[in-house]
């Protein structure tokens, strides 16, 4: 019971796949994480750039953002449940709270570490100041934005899983917890395997490919 054999985990996986429960749980978790992550990206990347470029914003919001980063986002769950109720919005809030800040901070660091020569050169050549953002800062800091995005994805997953473990309403985390409730460790392991598989898939196929692409564009490949 404590250490189910790989064969039992495999047959549990097949059975869960056949009755559709696994696919449903995966889809629901994916939907939550994709939505939360998109929101984090859309807000986090511009926030990071502004934090790096505008002194006033860094002075005011900067320490707040750092403070939030040290707070594991699951700490928000009790409040989120009261604010939004027992529904998807609460878990979305936790996911966004987890990934937005880490994305913003990674982007901020990336932009800050850019050589000022790029910006000065662009200004010297008469680039309008708003275009500095879209045509110099953004492309030049793409590698660090990508790092931030990858980090944010990890945080989003973690936040989602811890939320689903504590919070009862569908998803992979709940399925894992159900395994625990039923003292069915093969179900727990099968869900863990699916989570790892998804992690590997996104890491290799999405972020890995994007990083390779960016490295090649920046002439960093093949060194």
């Amino acid at each position: 019971m404590l250490f189910p054999s790989p064969y039992r985990v495999g047959s549990t996986l097949i059975q869960e796949f056949r009755d559709g429960s696994l696919l449903n749980a995966t889809a629901i978790s994916l939907r939550r994480v994709l939505l939360g992550y998109s929101i984090s990206l859309v807000i986090g990347v511009p926030l990071g750039i502004v934090l790096a470029r505008v002194k006033f914003v860094e002075d005011t919001l900067g320490s707040l953002v750092s403070a939030f980063q040290s707070l594991p986002s699951i700490c928000w769950l009790p409040l989120a449940l009261l604010w939004f109720g027992l529904n998807d919005r609460a878990i979305l809030f936790v996911v966004v709270a987890g990934s937005l800040v880490s994305i913003a901070i990674a982007v901020q660091d990336g932009v800050k570490n850019l050589s000022p020569t790029y910006v000065r050169a662009a200004l010297t050549m008469g680039t309008p100041s708003w275009r500095i953002y879209t045509h110099v800062l953004l492309p030049a800091s793409l590698p660090s934005i990508l790092t931030g995005a990858k980090l944010g994805w990890g945080y989003a997953w973690r936040a989602l899983m811890s939320g689903e473990l504590l919070f009862v309403s569908l998803g992979l985390g709940q399925m894992l917890m159900q395994g625990r409730e039923l003292a069915d460790m093969s179900q727990v392991l099968s869900v863990m395997a699916v989570i790892m598989g998804l992690g590997l898939l996104t890491d290799r196929l999405i972020f890995g490919s994007l990083e390779r692409h960016v490295r090649r564009r920046w002439g960093l490949a093949g060194a």
């Binding site: 889809a27 629901i28 994916l30 449940l81 009261l82 409730e181 069915d184 898939l201 996104t202 490919s209």
Partner: protein, 357 residues
């Protein structure tokens, strides 16, 4: 010159194979997330009836809710409302949802109900009926010789949750037997352990006893060879103590007394059906559990557990007040202690329940 500028403004964007892989995989994930898992909101278009959100646990002691939903009893009685079942796993969670306005009526243990009632200054909820009585035992490990609470001296006892109903009961009966938990300088070690983890701890001899609700007590007996040391019913007057009550959010109850009445009727009908048809009742409960958590209870466990619970509509005020007092003595309830408005006026329940029979 213009072409030169063009060249620098739009660097030719090459689509690499890596970019295609990343895009295609992301698209795949998005498609999976949309294609499966059903619609996130189950609200049916065209149904303009007011929703009535009913929370309960996938648990034996919530059997009146399980069969009330599966047999359509709630919907039949409250036909002017759209019954929305909300399955939750623990009392605090159900109460959070009730406070957030996500749940109107909930089946819940008396401890979380009383706690929430007191924390909100008596404004959030009222207890409208009882649902289940009995169904908690002190289980001793097979090789330990435990026959009473007094035998717990120097033992390690598991409870599902610190501050939960069983923990409060344990502390109450320890002090009645002249014992005290270690955190109060006594000799009995109380450890919080999730019900599902107790099985393994019993087998590994990590705990000597456990104060647990059904069906876990019966599972410990059947699967881990534990023995019933004390049936909590024997410690209470008339062998009755409340394990599940039906609570309604005060706001909802004020606005929709007709809905409360309908739910009470349905609840009462379900309780009577369960009493009159125990065999069909067990099947219905097990089918509901299987649908909700994927697995039903083993027949042996269910039969054993069924003997130890009583379904009832009586909230058994005296036992709830005794539990609340015990929780206060244990230090779990602090501040103002006024339960005068916690129960729906008694006459209403009694007379209306009689009518519904």
């Amino acid at each position: 010159m213009a072409t030169e500028r063009q060249k620098y403004r739009h660097r030719p964007f090459k689509v690499s194979r890596d970019l295609i892989t990343a895009g295609a995989t992301s698209l795949g994930l998005v498609i999976i997330s949309i294609a499966f898992g059903g619609a996130p909101d189950t609200h049916r278009a065209g149904d303009h009836r007011l929703p009535l959100r009913l929370a309960y646990f996938p648990n034996l002691t919530h059997a009146p809710a399980l069969v009330g939903i599966s047999r359509g009893e709630f919907q039949r009685q409250a036909s002017h409302y759209r019954i929305e079942p909300k399955v939750v796993n623990a009392g605090p969670e159900a109460m959070e949802a009730l406070l957030a306005g996500e749940v109107d009526i909930a089946y819940v243990g008396p401890s979380p109900a009383i706690n929430t009632y007191l924390k909100s200054g008596g404004k959030s909820l009222e207890i409208i009926a009882g649902a289940c009585s009995g169904g908690a035992e002190l289980m001793g490990r097979g090789d330990e010789n435990l026959h009473s609470v007094a035998d717990l001296d120097g033992k390690r006892v598991a409870v599902p949750q610190l501050g939960g109903t069983q923990d409060v009961s344990l502390r109450r009966f320890l002090s009645l037997n002249g014992l005290a938990p270690q955190d109060r300088g006594g000799s009995v070690e109380i450890v919080p352990v999730k019900n599902s983890d107790m099985l393994a701890l019993f087998l590994q001899k990590q705990i000597d006893a456990a104060w647990v609700p059904e069906p876990w007590a019966s599972r410990l007996q059947v699967e881990a060879g534990a023995k019933v040391a004390v049936d909590e019913r024997d410690l209470w007057p008339n062998h009755e103590f409340t394990t599940t009550v039906l609570v309604a959010s005060t706001q909802f109850a004020r606005a929709h007394p007709d809905a409360i009445q309908a739910i009470l009727n349905a609840h009462s009908n379900s309780v009577h059906w369960l009493k009159e048809h125990p065999e069909e009742g067990k099947d219905a409960v097990n089918a509901a559990l299987k649908a909700l958590v994927g697995k039903g209870l083993a027949r042996e466990v269910l039969t054993e557990a069924w003997k130890r619970v009583t379904f009832t509509v009586d909230p058994n005020r005296a036992s709830i007040l005794a539990m609340a007092n015990a929780a206060r003595q244990a230090g779990y309830i602090t501040g103002k202690f006024d339960l005068s408005h916690a129960f729906l006026a008694k006459t209403v329940v009694a007379s209306d329940l009689r009518r519904s029979r």
